[in-house]
Symmetry: C2
């Protein structure tokens, strides 16, 4: 492995390129991005060795697809069509079912590894890239049996060297569970931000009252709409299901308040405190 | 000022006692708590100079009431009844209207300062106390015109020495706004935790999929139910109003998804990104 094409030089692609270069200084990393400013920035920041375009795919031993999930659907068939024999393309998207279904019957399906590092911040663009992004994080590999395992080996070694903890599941389960533990958090945060802004935007000094608790719950509302809109679109069914359950829980909580049943509210919060045990494994 | 009675040696009371002692080593700080284990811990941790009981109030120059807001309503009239002339009692509660209304006509109303430091973590008890808790945080003082300003002076100096930034408003406005920027965050977080636990509790390995985004949005679901139940109860009307608006926003978002109107979803997220500017002032 020598020539690497990284498509999309935002937070994820930029951080991946940066880590690759540190692990393998001899790799030749070509950056590809529709945003030329991002390309220039990535080059300046040393994330990539040179600027390139989709033509460079045919010389790449590894292609890293780190673009919004709608763009990934458009690009992946083209990449597979143009990939050398024994080269591999991996994606980094937050949805896995649509992309796996799309190339299910592609003659080069075995040259694609469906992949999702659970790493990210609310920041975006090449300047958000950093070397510690993946260290200690979970990386979910989907439908691995559909990828040529001789091609997987070196990229799995790279993931491990970056500090990623590998988990395997099928793409359908991935999308179902990720709706609960990631996508719903983003909606809850965006709508919390919206509710407060709608009400309080004319009273700017009110935000002096907001503390770290508010900050924590609305942090994800800083996330990129271009990244998240297609994620919600591709995981529509699962997200709607989680959202309905969340809304029902909120309505029940409200009704308990309306009927002054604060004992039940206390019990519900007590049992939800169980989240402490769960979170111990994350932070 | 020499004798200080701190009632409630949890995160807030414990941190306040700790800061007081550092600023004024000659103060004699008496700890009062219905939980004797907490008292012992607080003494062992050096948060207080000695263990005491409500009897000690009559010798105190300053009483700090740092208990759950339901307990505060029970204790404050008793404290005022037993307070020396020229002594002051301050509270630390997250609701202000109920406590201010309660003592509105108390003959010693002017010896009470209604106070709310916007500081806290999801942890509780004396061991959670730390010296930096208040540094740089907002402290809201309510209805200050009802407190004897000669008595306020030294405690305001203490607040400032602890690094608190002072803000003034009436207790009614406090409760209305804090419902948006604090209480709603807690409910959104608790219900998010509940939704995910209900669905995923039998699939513990799923939580490996959860990243820092999930952790951030459910962090407040670790908060103490004994602290938060009476807050929701005392701020019932305002909290129900914010909760209704939040639920409506979530329902609208869900309906946009159902009708595949992802352009509108993107626009909504874009305008909510405005939260970035707001949060800059917080973190």
């Amino acid at each position: 492995m020598k020539n690497i094409g990284v498509i999309g030089l935002g937070l994820i692609g930029g951080s991946f390129a940066l880590n690759l270069k540190l692990l393998h200084p001899k790799f030749n990393i070509v950056g590809i991005d529709i945003n030329n400013d991002h390309l220039d920035e990535a080059l300046k920041l040393g994330l990539v060795d040179k600027k390139g375009s989709l033509v460079d795919i045919q010389d790449s031993d590894l292609v890293v697809l780190a673009v919004p999930v709608d763009a990934a659907l458009k690009l992946l068939p083209y990449i597979l069509d143009n990939l050398k024999e024994k080269s591999l393309v991996i994606d980094m998207g937050s949805t896995k079912e649509a992309i796996c279904n799309l190339v299910e019957n592609h003659p080069r399906r075995s040259q694609f590894l469906a992949n999702h590092p659970i790493a990210g911040t609310e920041f975006s663009g090449p300047t958000a890239a950093h070397v510690e992004l993946f260290n200690g994080k979970t990386n979910i590999i989907c439908d691995i049996e559909k990828t040529d395992n001789r091609l997987c080996k070196s990229v799995i070694k790279i993931f491990q060297d970056m500090g990623l903890k590998l988990t395997y599941m099928n793409s359908r389960d991935h999308d179902k569970h990720i709706a609960y533990v990631s996508h719903l958090s983003h909606i809850s945060s965006f709508m919390l931000g919206k509710t407060v802004i709608d009400k309080e935007k004319n009273e700017k000094n009110i935000f002096d009252m907001a503390g770290s608790g508010f900050e924590s719950t609305v942090r994800l509302a800083k996330s990129s709409p271009s990244t998240w809109t297609p994620i919600f679109e591709q995981n529509k069914e699962n997200v709607i299901e989680t959202l309905e359950e969340y809304i029902q829980n909120l309505i029940k909580f409200k009704n308990l308040m309306v009927s002054d049943n604060f004992n039940a509210i206390k019990e519900q919060m007590k049992s939800t405190n169980y989240i402490k045990k769960i979170l111990k494994g994350i932070s």
